[in-house]
Amino acid sequence: MLARVADNLFWMGRYIERAEHMARFMNVNYFSSLDAPSSTSQSREFVLRSMVNMTGLSMASSGVLKEQDVLYRIGTDPGESSSIVNSIKNARGNAQSARDLISTELYESINKFYHFAVDYPTGKFVRTGLFDFTTQVTEMTAIIRGKIRGTLLHDSIYAIIMLGVNLERALQITRIIQAKYLDALHAEGEQEEGFRYSYEWTTLLKCTESYDMMRRLYKKQPTSTSTLEFLILNPNCPRSVMNSLNQIYRHISILDPLRIRDKDSSAFLIGKIRAEYQFKSIEDIDNNHREFITETLSSLSAIGSRIEGEFFYY
Amino acid sequence: MTEHYTIEYVAENTYEHPVLEANWQFLIIPREDAHQQRIQIFFENSENAPWEFSRNGFDFTTIRVRCQGAFKTISFRAVFHLEKTEANPFEFDLGQLRGLPENPDELLLFRIRFSRYLKDTPLSRLPNRVKVFDFDPKHHIFENLIGLNSWVFQTLKYTSGATDVDTPLEVVLENRMGVCQDFTHLFLAIARHHGIPARYVSGYLHQGLGYFGDAQMHAWAEAHLPGIGWVGFDPANNILATTDHIKVAHGRDYSDCAPLKGVFTGMGGNATRHRVQVETQQQ
C-alpha cells in the first residue's frame, strides 16, 4: 500500500469517528440540559461553553455565546475547519483518493454521507434540525462502520482504517470526559459529594452511548469513580479508552507483525501504553483526574505521531 | 600539446521556507570528445544528500540529487580535472567546404537530417521586421558566419544582469544588451534563418585572456558547415571556439542546456547563486 494512501485511509477513519462523537456530544448535551436538575446545568451559556470546550473551537472566552452561532460553527459551517461538516468533507476527500482500494459499497455510503451533510440547510439546522442532523450523522457513521467491517478485506487496508478509527475514538472519549469533568466541577463547585454524584456523569455516559450498559453493570446511580472506571478502564465497554487501546494494538500487529520488539516502532509504544492502562486501577486515577486526562491525551497523540512517522512519512 | 584544466563549480540554493523534498539535475560535467578528456570528477553537497550520475534526454551526463528533510539552504560543489589537446580553430580544410544542397531532393534530406537545429525555438525566434545581419551570396558560408559572429558582437553590449534566462530576442534586440546566452541565441536565429544548422553550446571558458563570459558558465554556438562539420563560434567574444572553450552540452537553445534544474516541495520562493572558476596549467 502506498504510504500516502495509507495516510489518507488512516485519516478517513479518524474523520468519520470524529464527526460521530461531535454530533453525539452536541445532541446529548443539548437535549439533556433542557431538563437538568440544577439551574447551572440548565443554563444555555453552560451547555454552549461545554460544546465549545469539547470541540476545541476558538471562541472568545469572555462574552455571551449566541446559541445559533455556536451550533452553526460546530455543525454546518463550511468555513470552520473543525466543524462536523468539514470532518465529513475530509473523510470523503480521503476516501476519494483511495477509492481504488476500498469497496464500492463503502465509498458509496461515505459519498452519500457527504452529500447529505453539505446539502443540509443551515437555517433548518440551527432552528429545528439539531436533533435530526446529529441523529442522522451518528446513524450514518454506524452504517459506514458496518461497511468497513463487512465489505473490506481484513488486511492491512482494514488495519490502517481501524487504527484511525480507534485512535480517534480514544481521543474523542477522553476529550468528552475532559469536557464533562470540567462541567461537573463547574456545576458543583469544590463540593466533594456534589461532584461525586453530579448529574453530569449521567450526561457523560449518554454522550458516549454507554449509559444503559453502565447501569446494567453497576446497578447504581453513576458516580465520578464508577463512570470513569467504566469509560477508561473497562476493556469490555466498546467506547472505553482501554478497549480502544486493545484494538489499536491488535491492528498494529496485523500491519507490522515483525517489529513489535523494535523499541522505536509504533507497535512497541502502543504495547507499552496499553500495558500501563491494563494494570491501572481507578484508585490511581481518582485523586488527580485533571493530570490523568492530560497524560492520556498526550499518550494518544504520541501514538498518532509515531504511526505517522513510521508508515506515512515518505 | 595538452593543457590541464581545473574547473570548480559552486551553487548555493536558499529557500524562503524549509523544504521537505527537492530534486536537482546538474548539467555541468565537461563532455569527453577528441579534444578533451576527463581525469577526475568530484562532487559534494552540504546536506550529504545521495546523488548519482545519469543521462538526460539528449544523452549528456548529468548529476541528479535528491534530498529529503527540512532545510533552508543547500550548497553544491563540483571540481573537474581534465586534459585538452590544443585545438586550432582554423585547422579544417576550407577547400572541403560546400554550399547548402541545391537539388531539392538533397536539400530535403539535409533539412530532415538537421531538423532539430534548423527549427526556431521560443528563445531563438527572430522578431518580425527587425533589421538583422544579411548573408552576402557572393561569399561562402564560413565567411558569412564569421561576419555574423562579429555583427552580433558589435550589435549587443555585454552587460551582466541585463537579461534573464528566458528573455526573448525581441527584448534583447530592443535594448541591445545581453550576456553570452543572448549573443548565442541571436547568432543561432540568424544562422538558422539562412538554412544553416546551428546549435547552442554550454560550457566553461578559461578567462586568462580577458574574454567576456562572467564568472559563470559560458555559452557559444556551433554551426554545421557542409563538407566540414560542426564549428564553434563565440559571438560574445567575436572569436571561434578555442582550446579554452570547454564544452559541456549542446542543444536547440538554453533550455536544453540549463546547468541546473530543480524542483522542490515546500512553500515560498527560492534563489540560486552560482560561481565558476577555471584554472589552467600547461604540461
Binding site: M1, L2, A3, R4, V5, A6, G93, Q96, S97, R99, D100, L101, T104, Y107, E108, N111, K112, H115, S156, I160, L255, F311, F312, Y314 | N23, W24, Q25, P50, E52, S54, R55, N56, G57, F58, T62, R64, R66, L108, L109, R111, I112, S115, R116, L118, K119, R252, K261, G262, V263, T265
Partner: protein, 495 residues
Amino acid sequence: MYLFTKPCPMQKRNTLFSSYPRDPGLFDELFDQEGKVTKVYSKLFNLYGKNSISDYLELNNKAKASFFNQGITFQVYNEATTREKIFPFDLFPRIIGAEEWAHIEKGVVQRCRALNLFLHDLYHEKEILKAGVVPLELINSSENYLEQMVGLDPPGGIYNHISGTDIIRHKDGEFYVLEDNIRCPSGVSYVLSNRAALKRAFFGVFNHYDVHTVTNYAENLLDQLERVKPGGVDVPTCVVLTPGMYNSAFYEHSYLAKTMGVELVEGRDLYVENDFVYMKTIMGPRRVDILYRRIDDHFIDPLEFRQDSALGVPGLFAAYKKGNITIVNAPGTGVADDKAVYTYVPDIIRFYLGEEPILKNVQTYHCSRKEDLEYVLDNIRELVVKPVDEAGGYGISIGNCLTDTEVEEVRQSIRNAPRKYVAQPILSLSVHPTFIEESQSFEQRHIDLRTFTVLGPDSSYVLKGGLTRVALRKGNLIVNSSQGGGSKDTWVLQK
C-alpha cells in the same frame, strides 16, 4: 424491475415513440428512410415500447441517482463554483450489428498499427518524410514532437498502446474516422459504468440479445501492458499515474487501477534512484516497471520537460531512456494525433502497410496549403473549422451556424495563423432516439462512437462496445462532455 421478464406476443401500440419527430434528411440509427424500425433494433423497440414515459422517467431518475451516489462524476470548471456533475447517461442503448462491428474493428486496428509504425519512423529513420509523403514542415511545426524520443526504442516497439478512435456515421450510411486520440484517451470507465447502469435498469432486455461483454477491458489491458515490461523483469509491477483527485477524469483513473488490481499513484508517490523508479509504500520502497500515466508528456518529468510541473516524477525520463520502466503511452505520441496529421493517415496506412484504408477519412483542408486556404476562406459556410491543437471540442466553428460578423472573425483568425486551422465539410452525424428530460419524450440527437484499442507487440484488442456520445442540445454536432454531451451504452452483437 418486473418489466420485460415475460415476452409479450401481443403488439401493442408503441406509446414511447408515438410523437417521435423524425427528420428524413438525417440518418437515424433506429428507423430507415421509410420510417420502419431497422432489423437490429426491432426487438428492443418492441420491448422498450411496452413502457410508458413515466416508467421510463422513473428509471432514468434512479439511474442518475445511482451515478451520483457512486461518485461517478466530473468537476465542472469555468463556473463561479466548481460543481460535481454526472455525465448524462441515456437509457436507450445504441446497437451495432456483428458485421458492421467487424468492419470497424478491422479498420481501427489497421489505423493504430499504421500510426505506431509512423511514430517509430518519425523518431528513427524518418523515411516517410524523406519520401515526401508527409511534409517535413508538418512535423517541424508540431509542439508534440519530442526530440528526446529520437533514437529511443520503447519496449516491444509500441508507442500508442492505448488509442481512442472517434468514428461517426454520415448520412450516406458509411463510417468515417473523425479523430485519433493516442495521448491519454479517456472515457472507457463510462463504457463500463453505462453498461452496469443499463443492466440494473433494464436487465430483461439482455435476455433477447447476444451482447458482447465489456467488463474484460481491464484484464485485457493489463495483459497487453505486461507484455511490454522492461527487460529482465519477471513479474512486473504496473501502476496508474494520476494527476490527482481534482482532475476531471479521476474517477476513471481510480476505476482502472481498481479493476486492474494495481496501485493508483500520484507523482509524489514515486521517486527515481539509480535510474530505477520506486513507489513509497508503508513497507518501504517498491520498484515500478510499467507506468500507465494519465498525465501529458510535458508534465511527466520536471527535470526533463516543464520544470514548473508538480505532477510528474523527477528523473523519470532518464529511467525510461535506460529501459528500466515502460511508459504507456510512450512519450511523444501526440505528434501523430494532431488534427493536421489526421489528413495524412490514409497515406500513412498505404506507406507502411501497403494496404488501402478500411475506414474512411473525412476530407480535410489544411489552411497551411495555399490552395486549401483559398477554398476554406471562400466556402466557410459549408465547413467546420477546427484549431489543430485543441482538444475537447473547444474553438470549433460550424459554418452554417455563424453570423456574418462571426464568419469574418473566423476568416481573420485563419489568415493570421493558417497553420493553426484545418477545415472539413459539415458532416451530418447520424442520429439516435434519445430521452430528453425537458420535453419528457424521445427525440433525435446526433451521436458518434469512441472505440478503444489496445495494441501489443504481436496482438491487439478492441473493446467490443465503445462510448457512444450524444449531443444533447438539439441540432448540436459537438458531442464532448465539456460541451454538454451525454452517452449511451453501446451494444456490439455477437451475431
